[in-house]
Structures are given as structure tokens and as C-alpha cells.
């Protein structure tokens, strides 16, 4: 029956495809507009906002590269996002591993503690956080941002990873134990390779908001040399004039890495999203 319903000529299927197609257009349109506008001059954007650019000139990008601080911001964002996600995955996986694979007193308490982090937005605690970071000498410092992002994203990471780790059969662990592997070795060589899809999910899920974050850099970073991309791009909103062409070029550059990561990892991402459900 179900195969009959899913015949390609079926009305339901058509409606579904139309719906998905419209949805895709709505999602992609602003991104395409942004990318196209980055090739236009300011005048062109206002005279013919919806048309294709007259020529694909890289002038705006050249301006970004040579006359602005964007390359520097780009590097800062890369460092902050990269290190945050790295620390996050290492620490988060280890925490999730302990919580999901071992029985010990306080296991549930610690799990709930992590879960509570999902419910409390860190922004609520911005003042104490500022005082604390100041005391630690981490204000106006990329390390401070990395600490905040790691802590902020840990609950979700532990949550995602615990679910995946729980689904792995314990016989694998037993088998490795019989083979003489130490607990650490079992984790690193046997279990973690099996949850790389989960790590990709956790990585992307956390990298996107960290990369795009505007709030924490705004509060904690003052010096121009430590600004991140999202924060740095506001410099293009001048008091009297805005060069939209250059702004769009900057935004395009800012969106590019995450899009690339997503495209490259999307197969694993989807595999990971469904793996938990089937196995």
C-alpha cells in the first residue's frame, strides 16, 4: 500500500515537492541576493536591486581585503570557533562517555546538571560573567570568548553525544576489554570512531551560533584587533553612509565557511541525524 501511495505521479507527492521547492526558494533567495549584491556597486544595488550584476567584478572583495580589517576578523572568528568546537568536542565527548557508559553514584545528578544548562540562557548571567572574566583577566581576549562558548555549548553537546553513545552495544566494550584494551583506549579506538556522525552534528550545531555570535564579542571585546566577523562587520554601517556592496561582500565572506563546512559534511550530518533513530 505504502509503495502505491508513493508513486511519482501521485498528487500528494507533487504537493510535497511543490511545498519543498517553495521552501527552498524562500530559504535560498536571501543568500543568493546577498551573494549577487556583493558583486554590485552601491549605485547598482539601488537602481536595479533584483537584477543580476552587470559584471562579476571582485572590486568589493578587493576593498574588503586591502582596506578593511575583515581578514583580521576572519582569522579571529576562525580561531575562536575552531578552538571552541575542538575543546567542546573533546571535553563534551569525554563527559558524555562517562555519563552514558559507566554506572556511578551521582551519574543522574551530573546528567541533570548538564541538562539544566540547556534551559538557562547564559545571557541572563552576563554581568556576573563579565565580573568573573575581568577577574581572570580574560576580557578583551579571544581566550575569554573561547571559554564562554565552550561552557555555553557543553550542555547541548553532552546531550547529543550521550544519546549516541548509549545506543552503542555494550558487547563492543566487553569485547575490547577481553582484548586487553584500557578504558581510555576503548573510548578512543573503539567507541569514538563509531560516533563521528554525532560529533559532526554536535560540531556544526555549535559552530554556527558561535561563528555568527554578535552578543558576547560586543560585550567582551573592545580592541579592533580582537574583533570577530559578526561584530567587525558592523563597522560598515557608517553614521552617514553605508557602502552596501562592500557590506554584502563581507557578509558573503562571513557566511562562506559555515556553508562550505555544511556542504562537505552534510552527508554525515544527515546520516547522524537518522542513525540514532534506526539503530
Amino acid at each position: 500500500m505504502s509503495t502505491l501511495n508513493k508513486k511519482s505521479g501521485d498528487l500528494g507527492t507533487w504537493l510535497m515537492h511543490i511545498f519543498l521547492g517553495v521552501n527552498a526558494v524562500i530559504m535560498l533567495y536571501p543568500i543568493i541576493m546577498m551573494a549577487l549584491s556583493s558583486f554590485k556597486t552601491n549605485q547598482e544595488i539601488f537602481s536595479s536591486p533584483f537584477s543580476l550584476p552587470k559584471s562579476f567584478s571582485f572590486d568589493n572583495f578587493a576593498i574588503i581585503w586591502s582596506q578593511t580589517n575583515v581578514p583580521r576578523y576572519f582569522i579571529n572568528s576562525t580561531i575562536v570557533t575552531g578552538l571552541s568546537v575542538l575543546v567542546l568536542l573533546v571535553v563534551g565527548t569525554m563527559a558524555a562517555y562517562a555519563l552514558s557508559r559507566y554506572k556511578f553514584k551521582g551519574n543522574i545528578m551530573i546528567s541533570l546538571f548538564f541538562l539544566s544548562g540547556l534551559m538557562l540562557p547564559l545571557r541572563l548571567a552576563i554581568i556576573p560573567l563579565f565580573i568573573q572574566l575581568k577577574a581572570l583577566g580574560l576580557v578583551d581576549n579571544l581566550l575569554g570568548l573561547i571559554c564562554i562558548y565552550t561552557a555555553m555549548s557543553l550542555p547541548a553537546t553532552v546531550f547529543i553525544m550521550t544519546g549516541f553513545l548509549r545506543s552503542l552495544p555494550s558487547e563492543l566494550e566487553d569485547s575490547a576489554r577481553m582484548d586487553g584494551a584500557s578504558e581510555f583506549r576503548i573510548m578512543v579506538e573503539i567507541m569514538v570512531p563509531l560516533i563521528t556522525p554525532a560529533m559532526v552534528i554536535a560540531g556544526i550545531y555549535n559552530a554556527v551560533p558561535i561563528w555568527n555570535d554578535f552578543f558576547f564579542p560586543l560585550i567582551f571585546i573592545q580592541s579592533p584587533e580582537w574583533k570577530t566577523l559578526a561584530q567587525g562587520l558592523t563597522a560598515f554601517f557608517g553614521e552617514y553612509s553605508i557602502n552596501y556592496g562592500v557590506l554584502y561582500a563581507g557578509l558573503t565572506l562571513a557566511a562562506l565557511p559555515i556553508m562550505l563546512v555544511f556542504i562537505v559534511q552534510s552527508r554525515r550530518f544527515i546520516a547522524g541525524m537518522t542513525a540514532g533513530a534506526i539503530k
Binding site: 552495544p169 566487553d174 569485547s175 577481553m178 586487553g180
Partner: protein, 363 residues
């Protein structure tokens, strides 16, 4: 090449005792099968032996040396799991060599051992494949290969064939028996399938709810089950039981009456039974004959008949036993719904007293 000795091995999980003081000795080079219904503690006993679970009390010796405090890898055992537990991200070669790699053996030694094991199990062609590209039987062989390369003194198998289809299971059963001959090592095998137990074992350990009920050679268990449980568990189809009562007891000569009125006399140890003791008479399906030819007779209505040509199984319903099975070697022309008479001879029967323990006939 190892003897194993279990002394008063006890295990409880959170206050619930699952193994109640198991005592067992296993000879060198023996093929021992732990068998019992699910939840009887046979797998737990195996895990205690392997070191994956810790003992609550008791001692385990291998070759006279106490090993129950050692971690799994240092007990000289290898285990094959029910789900094979192959590492999915490693090739067959890496799977088989993992234990040796952990033990820091030289590359050359690893290579030699893996090749040798692959040869024995006909896996040489498959060494570069990942487990997901293998069939069930091949995965099973890899799991065994992984055990072999470690050159263990004892092999532990935890229901290794239960994930295979029936045909493959028979084939692997034979392969495992041959492997045992070839490797000359002690093997312990857990299964709930009594056919596997009967065909493979040198010695069967029958377990029920954490107790070892009987230990012995397969045919000893079949011919002389020590209690009603073992009698009902070993043998396929299962033994038929008829309830009855002792109606007279005199110096070792007893007379009993089954619930359908059939009476019979027998001799047994004097004083073992008294009048009004309830008894169970066990008769194997193949010992029930159609027609009135034996000492005791029963009437039953056939509820189902399976005529296989060379043999016939008839399922009978009678007031004394609603699911009675008879096995007739040959073709028996009866129809379902037919009322038939079956009979048995006392020499081929098993008698169990009110405590469900075996009562030995005398004379």
C-alpha cells in the same frame, strides 16, 4: 590446555542473587555447554568466568591458579559474543589483530598469527573487508578468528549461533566441533538450544534460576536426568509427564496409580516414597507406542498430526496430559481428531518423586 574450577561462585545484582554458589570442575580440552532457559544465569556465569562481571563470592581457578581477581585480558581467555561484537570501523584484519596490537606484539608476529587463523577459518580472502560487507556466517567466523589469534587457554562462546539461520547454524555447529578437535583447547559454550548442547558437548551443565541442576555427558543427562526439570529440558520434543499417586508401599515394592486410573507396580529404594506421595511419570515421545502393547495404556485425542514420512509426530490431548506428544519412527496413518490408544513400558520411563527428584527403579 586448561582445567577450570569454580568454587561456590555467587553473584548478586543489587541484592538479587542470580548465581547461587556454583561448583563446577572442567577438565582440560573439554567442550562444556551451559544450557538452560533464558534468565537461568548461564550467560552470567560465563561473564563471571571471563572477568566482565565481578564475583560476589567464591573462587575461580584456571590450571590451579586463582584468577578471579585478574582483569579479563590477563585470564588467558577469549570470548565470542552473541552479536559477534566486531568493531564496525575496522577491517577483518584489524579486528583479528586488535588484541595482539594492544598486547604490543611485533608486526611480524601479528601478521603470522592472523594469517594462520584466517587460514583455519577460510577468511584469507576477506581480510581487507569491513564487517558490514560480510555475511552472518562470515562475521561469526571473524569473531572466532579474533579469539583464536590470542591463543587462549580457554574459549568462551556466548550463544554464538543464535543469530544465524537454521541451515548455517547446523553448518557452524559442525565447524565448531571440528575446530575444537583441531585446536585442542578447553571450550565453554552457552546456549539455550538443547540440540546444540547435545550435539557438541563433552559435558553439559544444565542450569535453572542460578542453580546448576545437573552436570554430565549428553546421553547421561538424556538417559538419567536427576530431576523433572532436566528430564523436561533435555530431549526434543520434550518428555511427557503424567501425574499420579502412590497407593501402596511395602518394603521397596510400590504400587502407583496415574490420574487416569492406570496402575503399575515397581521396585525402588525402601522408604523413599510413602502412600499418597504424588509422583510424575516421565515418558519420552519416542517411548510411547501406538496401540496396546505395553504395561500402561492411555487414551488420547489427536489434536495435530505431523506425518514426515520417515517419522510421525502426533499431538494428543488426554485428561491426564493435555499436550502429549508421541513420536513414531515410520509413517502412522492417523487423522487429527481421532481417538487413539498409546502405551508405554515401565523400563523406558522416568519416575520423579514429590520433590521432583529422580527415583531409580530397582530390579
Amino acid at each position: 590446555m586448561a582445567t577450570i574450577e569454580l568454587r561456590d561462585v555467587t553473584k548478586d545484582f543489587g541484592g538479587v542473587q542470580v548465581i547461587h554458589g556454583a561448583n563446577l570442575s572442567i577438565e582440560d580440552n573439554e567442550f562444556v555447554v551451559f544450557v538452560g532457559p533464558s534468565g537461568c544465569g548461564k550467560s552470567t556465569l560465563l561473564r563471571l568466568l571471563s572477568g566482565l562481571e565481578e564475583l560476589s563470592a567464591g573462587e575461580i581457578y584456571i590450571d590451579g591458579e586463582r584468577i578471579d581477581h585478574l582483569p579479563p585480558a590477563r585470564r588467558g581467555l577469549a570470548m565470542v559474543f552473541q552479536s559477534y561484537a566486531l568493531y564496525p570501523h575496522m577491517t577483518v584484519y584489524q579486528n583479528m589483530s586488535y588484541a595482539l596490537k594492544v598486547a604490543r606484539k611485533s608486526k611480524q608476529e601479528i601478521e603470522e598469527k592472523v594469517r594462520a587463523a584466517a587460514e583455519i577459518l577460510q577468511l584469507t580472502e576477506l581480510l581487507d573487508r569491513k564487517p558490514k560487507a560480510l555475511s552472518g556466517g562470515q562475521r561469526q567466523r571473524v569473531a572466532i578468528g579474533r579469539a583464536i589469534v590470542r591463543d587462549p587457554s580457554v574459549f568462551l562462546f556466548d550463544e554464538p549461533l543464535s543469530n544465524l539461520d537454521a541451515k548455517l547454524r547446523v553448518q557452524m555447529r559442525i565447524e565448531l566441533t571440528n575446530l575444537h578437535k583441531q585446536l585442542q583447547s578447553t571450550m565453554i559454550y552457552v546456549t539455550h538450544d538443547q540440540v546444540e548442547a547435545m550435539t557438541m558437548a563433552d559435558k553439559i551443565v544444565v542450569m535453572r534460576s542460578g542453580h546448576i541442576e545437573q552436570v554430565g555427558a549428553p546421553l547421561d543427562l538424556f538417559n538419567k536426568p536427576v530431576n523433572k526439570f532436566v528430564a523436561g529440558f533435555i530431549g526434543s520434543p520434550a518428555m511427557n509427564f503424567f501425574k499420579g499417586q502412590i497407593i501402596s508401599a511395602d518394603e521397596g515394592t510400590y504400587e502407583a496409580q496415574l490420574d487416569n486410573g492406570t496402575q503399575f507396580k515397581f521396585k525402588a529404594q525402601a522408604g523413599r516414597l510413602t502412600v499418597q506421595d504424588s509422583i510424575d511419570l516421565g515418558v519420552r515421545p519416542e517411548d510411547l507406542q501406538p496401540g496396546n502393547t505395553g504395561a500402561g495404556t492411555l487414551m488420547g485425542k489427536a489434536t495435530a498430526v505431523e506425518r514426515l514420512g520417515a517419522q510421525t509426530y502426533a499431538y494428543l490431548s488426554s485428561p491426564i496430559n493435555e499436550n502429549m506428544i508421541i513420536h513414531y519412527a515410520g509413517d502412522l496413518d492417523i487423522q487429527s481428531g481421532e481417538e487413539i490408544e498409546v502405551s508405554f513400558n515401565l523400563d523406558s520411563c522416568h519416575l520423579f518423586g514429590p520433590d521432583e527428584q529422580r527415583i531409580e527403579f530397582e530390579g
